[in-house]
Structures are given as structure tokens and as C-alpha cells.
């Protein structure tokens, strides 16, 4: 069954952002998604933000050729930005959530299509206590992360 056109038009690029906006730095992915929403028209970039990556996002992935996963990374220095190319991985272990490679594999297996290119854009994070504010290093990193995201969209979605 082809699901990619069931719930919306095909879009050139997709941002999947996740995090918890009530746990300080964990919400940085959502901050970037909110900012991206203000600068890209919906026809050029579809943005999906949630607390975690979930299986139905496979249908969103099946409707695009460029996917950018945006998330906080607890293993990097606060504010450190990393862009990593991703590929589908079918042997994902059972976990309480889906990671991006597993989600890409799911898009291919049940929707028949996965994006030609996929990237993870992560921002190092260190504060995960209660609160809606992100820490200073991350506040400084958000504009750079947004520029990187815009560069990825411009370079790989086929639209200037």
C-alpha cells in the first residue's frame, strides 16, 4: 500500500524534530523547528515536531527526498553542532522509541519509499532538568544550527 500521498502533498524537504520542551536543553530540537517554521514556506519544507520519533513518521519520510532529523545530543559538548549523513538500518534493536535509521528502514519497508538523502543535525546538550529555558551555549548555537539546516535544504532539496 502506498501511503505517501494519503495525508498530504509530497514536499521537497522534511524536518523531523524531537525533544521535550519542559526539560531544558532537551527541547532544543523543537526550538530549531519553531524557528525554521518562520523562515521556510510550507511548500518548501514540511516540519514535524514531537516528543520522540514514532512509527507514523515513516509516512512523512515516504513523501520526501530529503529528511533532516533534529535533536539534542547528550554525548556532545553543550552547543556543539554535528551533521551526520544517515542511512536506513534494518536491524535496529528493540527499543522504547525509534531511532532515525530504523525509521528510514520502516519508510522503505511499509511505504515503499525512503528519502534519497537523510541527515541528523544534533546539538550537544547538558541540562535536562525541569524548565522551558535552554542553557546559554545552546541559545548561542540555535542560529548556527538554523543556518546549517537552511544550507542542507538549499543544497539537497533541489530548490534554491
Amino acid at each position: 500500500m502506498e501511503v505517501k500521498t494519503a495525508t498530504g502533498p509530497v514536499v521537497p524537504a522534511l524536518v523531523l524534530a524531537c525533544g521535550n520542551s519542559l526539560r531544558q536543553d532537551d527541547g532544543v530540537g523543537l526550538r530549531i523547528a519553531e524557528a525554521a517554521e518562520d523562515i521556510f514556506p510550507a511548500s518548501r519544507l514540511r516540519i514535524v515536531a514531537a516528543q520522540q520519533f514514532t512509527p507514523e513518521m515513516a509516512a512523512d519520510l515516504a513523501a520526501t527526498e530529503l529528511a533532516i532529523f533534529v535533536d539534542a545530543c547528550a554525548n556532545d559538548e553543550p552547543g556543539a553542532i554535528r551533521v551526520v549523513a544517515l542511512a536506513a538500518r534494518d536491524d535496529a534493536p528493540e527499543t522504547h522509541r525509534l531511532d532515525p535509521p530504523a525509521l528510514l528502514a520502516m519508510a522503505q519497508s511499509i511505504c515503499g519509499h525512503a528519502p534519497a538523502r537523510a541527515f541528523a543535525l544534533t546539538i550537544g546538550a547538558g541540562c535536562f532538568g525541569y524548565g522551558e529555558e535552554i542553557s546559554a551555549p545552546l541559545r548561542q548555537a540555535v542560529p548556527r544550527a538554523l543556518r546549517l539546516l537552511a544550507n542542507l535544504v538549499t543544497a539537497f532539496s533541489g530548490q534554491a
Binding site: 520542551s21 535496529a92 528493540e94 522504547h96 530504523a102 520502516m106 519497508s109 511499509i110
Partner: protein, 474 residues
């Protein structure tokens, strides 16, 4: 020597709970209890907040059904304002509520329960997940993904954004629906309807395989409660509350939801933070009732949309009386999804749905407000009291899973008595005890949800607390 079996945590639920089974000397299950081990405290920490913040605060109760809380909370705030919201706003809220129902039912049926239904209760635990279903039954997995996305996409289109939508507000909604968005939603409906119909065809054909589970999965007499409209048909946003008994007799026909405290009591037990609501005239636990899809389809005259009514008649034809086995929650969920897509289409077909006047405004005119709606899992009640400045002084929330609590505990006992014998603990036994809980689709008020395999341990303990045997997985 009596022994205790503990299942902790129970897997593929929303939130965290554990189950304790008490065995007697001969290894027969004597008692079963379902513990909800989290204390969230929303009713307490909301005190002092302005009432108009309540929809957004209480929506944080749950990551799965925030829309249900938004709607019940907004209705309670409408009552505090003492306004009758514009009809178009009520219908837009209805659409959002129905979209929420579809996405939540899709999660319950496809993500959490379909591994049991497709692979069997005795399948290896590592295979019982939606990820495995995506490979073993890709078309069913695709339908599940598409239906969950269908509901979420409608919510996104209505609310404008998926990041903390604040669209449903006291007095109505804060933005009218555009013609473009209406058409987008209408364009998604045929594929969703077809996916649900395919699933219904498959599920009906597979039910025979589960006759043993149907027999013992919370299959006993209780009352049933849910909202109905003024014709006695299924209603999800407004209307009156109806109670029926296990024979199908209407024991309370048109109760005003705002007066819920006159007919619903809340008992407490020392082993869980979740309360035990009951029908007051019959006391506790005699007044145990069930809510949610099974209850709604048992007590309503019909669904009121053509395709769903055909399915509802098939459903009800299985018994001249209300269906009592909680296994049938699965079937009821599919019929409700079909009804929701038809109802959304019908509501959008009305030109008035694009009306621009979508919000009534007022200041505090009542010091108390109750909001009731049908959430996917059952009737959701928000009840607030405020001071003259509109600051919250008291809150009571009765969540659908709470209504089902007593029935869930009895269901666990019934299932465990059938499948658990002595110290031999088979994987299939563990899964069936969990699966009866899953039929209710309990949401344990957690802001995150779990999927797939989680650690689970079963302990056999002697009365003195010493560990006799332990089985662990995950």
C-alpha cells in the same frame, strides 16, 4: 504456602504499572491487583493558576491524548465563562476530538495490540512489536501508520502547528477553518476509510482464533457508561451520560454530566494511586462500570453514520445483550474509527464549518465549571472551582482509565486464574495477563509512551518476602 507474582512493568501500555498475583497454597491465583505507581499531582499543582491556562496545562497530562484534555478542559472553562460557544466552534472541536480518536485507536490497535492479534499470544516477545509487523505484515503495518498519521495530520491542520497547539480555548477556538484546509482533510478521508475497512475485514476473520481469550479476558457483568445524544445515539463531544447494566437495561438514561458527582463516587485502595470510580446508587464495588469503545457501542442506539452502522449491527449481532468480554474493545475501536472518519466528512460537508465567528468572550460568571467529553479510552471529566478573579481553587479530573480501573483489576484476576498455575510461568501466560489490560488501552497519565519490549520481571515471593523464583525478560 502462599506466594506472590509481580509483573513490573506491564509492557505496551501508556505509562507504567505493575501487576501482583497472589497464589494460595495450591498454586491457584487468589487475588490480583494492578498498581499505578506514578503520582502526577495535576489536581494539586493547578491550584492558584488562572483558569484560562487550564487547557494548556492539563493537555500536558498525556502525550497521547492531549487533545482530549484540551477539549474537556475548554468545556469546563466555557462553563466558568457561562457562554454558549458558536456552533461552528463546537463542530470544529468535534472534528478535532474525532481525529484524536482515530490516531489514538490506531496506536492502540496497530502499534500495541496487533502483534498479539497477528502473531499470537505465544509468539516470541522479541517479535511482538510494530517494527516486526512492518516486516511480517507490511500492508497491515502500513494501514496502521497511515491511520495514525491521518488523525495527527487533521489535528495539525486544525491547530495550525504541531508544537503545543493552543487552538482550542475557553469560549471556542482561536482560528476559523480555511477552505483549503477543509479540502485537504476531505481529500484524506477515502484512503483512511479504505484502510479501516480492510482492517475490519481481516479482524473479523481472525476473531475465531481468539475464542479462548474472548472467554476469559474481563468477561463478566458490569455496568457501562458513556455519552449519548438526544436520540440515544453515540456522542463524543456533548450530550447526556447513560448507564446500562449487563442485560442491556438503561438504569440511568439522561444524566447531566455537570452533576456527575451525584452519581459517580471515587473509592481508593492502598496499593495504587489510581482511584476506583463507581456508580453511587450501587456502591463500591457493586457499581463497577466500564467506559470507552466497548461501553459506547453497547449503550448507544447506533453510531449514526452509514458504514459504521452496518458494522455496529454486525458487532451487536454477536449477542442479544451487551458484549461483556473486554477482548471486544479491539473490534469496537475499529468501528469507532470508521464512524469518526464518516462523521468528520459529514461535519466538513456543512458550509457553515467555514464560518469566521469561532469564539465567545466573557469574564468569570460562574465559580465552578464541569467539562465532559468522550476521550478515545472513555469519558473524561474536568471539574474546576475558581475564585472571583478566576484563579483555580480546586480541581478534580476523572480520566477514562480510572473509570475502568475496577473492571481491569477483575479482568486481570479472571485471566490469571485461567492461565496461571503454580510456579510454572510461561511467556504466553505473562503476555495474556498483560494483554487483558491492553484491551482497555489504559493510559497511565504518562507524557511519553513505550513501544516494543520493555524489561519485565515476575517474582514469586514467600509470605516472609523471600524470593522463591524470578523470571526476567527484556
Amino acid at each position: 504456602m502462599s506466594r506472590t507474582i509481580v509483573i513490573d512493568p506491564v509492557t505496551r501500555l501508556e505509562g507504567h504499572g505493575k501487576i501482583t498475583l497472589q497464589l494460595d497454597d495450591s498454586g491457584v491465583v487468589q487475588d490480583a491487583t494492578f498498581h499505578v505507581t506514578q503520582l502526577r499531582g495535576f489536581e494539586k499543582f493547578c491550584e492558584g493558576r488562572p483558569f484560562y491556562e487550564m487547557p494548556n496545562i492539563t493537555a500536558r497530562t498525556c502525550g497521547i491524548c492531549p487533545v482530549s484534555h484540551l477539549i474537556a478542559s475548554s468545556k469546563a472553562c466555557d462553563a466558568i465563562l457561562a457562554v454558549r460557544i458558536p456552533p461552528v466552534a463546537a463542530n470544529l472541536r468535534r472534528i478535532m476530538n474525532l481525529a484524536q480518536l482515530v490516531q489514538s485507536h490506531a496506536l492502540s490497535f496497530f502499534y500495541l495490540s496487533s502483534p498479539d492479534l497477528l502473531l499470537g499470544m505465544d509468539a516470541p516477545p522479541e517479535e511482538r512489536s510494530i517494527l516486526h509487523i512492518a516486516h511480517s505484515h507490511p500492508s497491515i503495518g502500513a494501514d496502521g501508520v497511515a491511520l495514525r498519521q491521518f488523525g495527527q495530520r487533521i489535528i495539525e491542520l486544525l491547530a495550525g502547528r504541531r508544537i503545543h497547539p493552543g487552538w482550542t480555548v475557553p469560549g471556542g477556538v482561536n482560528e476559523p477553518l480555511s477552505g483549503e484546509k477543509r479540502d485537504q482533510i476531505l481529500g484524506m478521508i477515502p484512503a483512511a476509510t479504505a484502510a479501516i475497512q480492510r482492517t475490519l475485514t481481516w479482524f473479523r476473520g481472525s476473531m475465531e482464533k481468539f475464542s479462548a481469550e474472548i472467554e476469559v479476558f474481563a468477561n463478566f457483568p458490569t455496568l457501562f457508561m458513556g455519552l449519548i445524544d438526544d436520540r440515544g445515539l453515540a456522542e463524543y463531544y456533548d450530550g447526556a451520560l447513560r448507564f446500562i447494566d449487563s442485560e442491556g437495561n438503561i438504569i440511568a438514561g439522561e444524566l447531566n454530566p455537570a452533576h456527575y458527582s451525584e452519581f459517580i463516587g471515587e473509592a481508593v485502595e492502598p496499593y495504587t494511586y489510581m482511584k476506583f470510580p463507581y456508580y453511587k446508587p450501587l456502591g463500591y464495588p457493586g457499581g463497577t462500570y466500564r467506559v470507552g469503545p466497548l461501553a459506547r457501542l453497547n449503550l448507544a442506539g447506533r453510531c449514526d453514520t452509514p458504514l459504521a452502522d452496518v458494522e455496529w449491527r454486525e458487532f451487536r449481532a454477536m449477542s442479544p445483550k451487551p458484549l461483556l468480554s473486554s477482548f471486544h474493545y479491539h473490534y469496537a475501536r475499529l468501528i469507532e474509527m470508521l464512524h469518526a472518519t464518516e462523521k468528520i466528512e459529514a461535519l466538513l460537508a456543512d458550509k457553515a464549518i467555514l464560518d469566521k465567528h469561532v469564539r465567545a468572550t466573557a469574564s468569570v460568571n460562574n465559580l465552578e465549571g464541569v467539562g465532559v467529553a468522550e476521550a478515545p479510552r472513555g469519558t473524561l471529566i474536568h471539574h474546576y472551582k475558581v475564585d472571583e478573579n478566576g484563579l483555580i481553587t480546586w480541581v478534580n479530573l476523572i480520566i477514562a482509565t480510572g473509570h475502568n480501573n475496577a473492571a481491569m483489576n477483575r479482568g486481570i484476576l479472571q485471566t490469571a486464574r485461567h492461565y496461571v498455575q503454580g510456579e510454572h510461568i510461561a511467556e504466553g501466560m505473562l503476555n495474556r495477563v498483560e494483554a487483558v489490560v491492553r484491551t482497555f488501552d489504559p493510559c497511565l497519565s504518562c507524557s511519553t509512551h513505550a513501544m516494543g519490549q520493555m524489561p519485565l520481571s515476575v517474582e514469586l515471593r514467600a509470605p516472609d518476602g523471600s524470593l522463591l523464583r524470578e523470571v526476567r525478560r527484556g
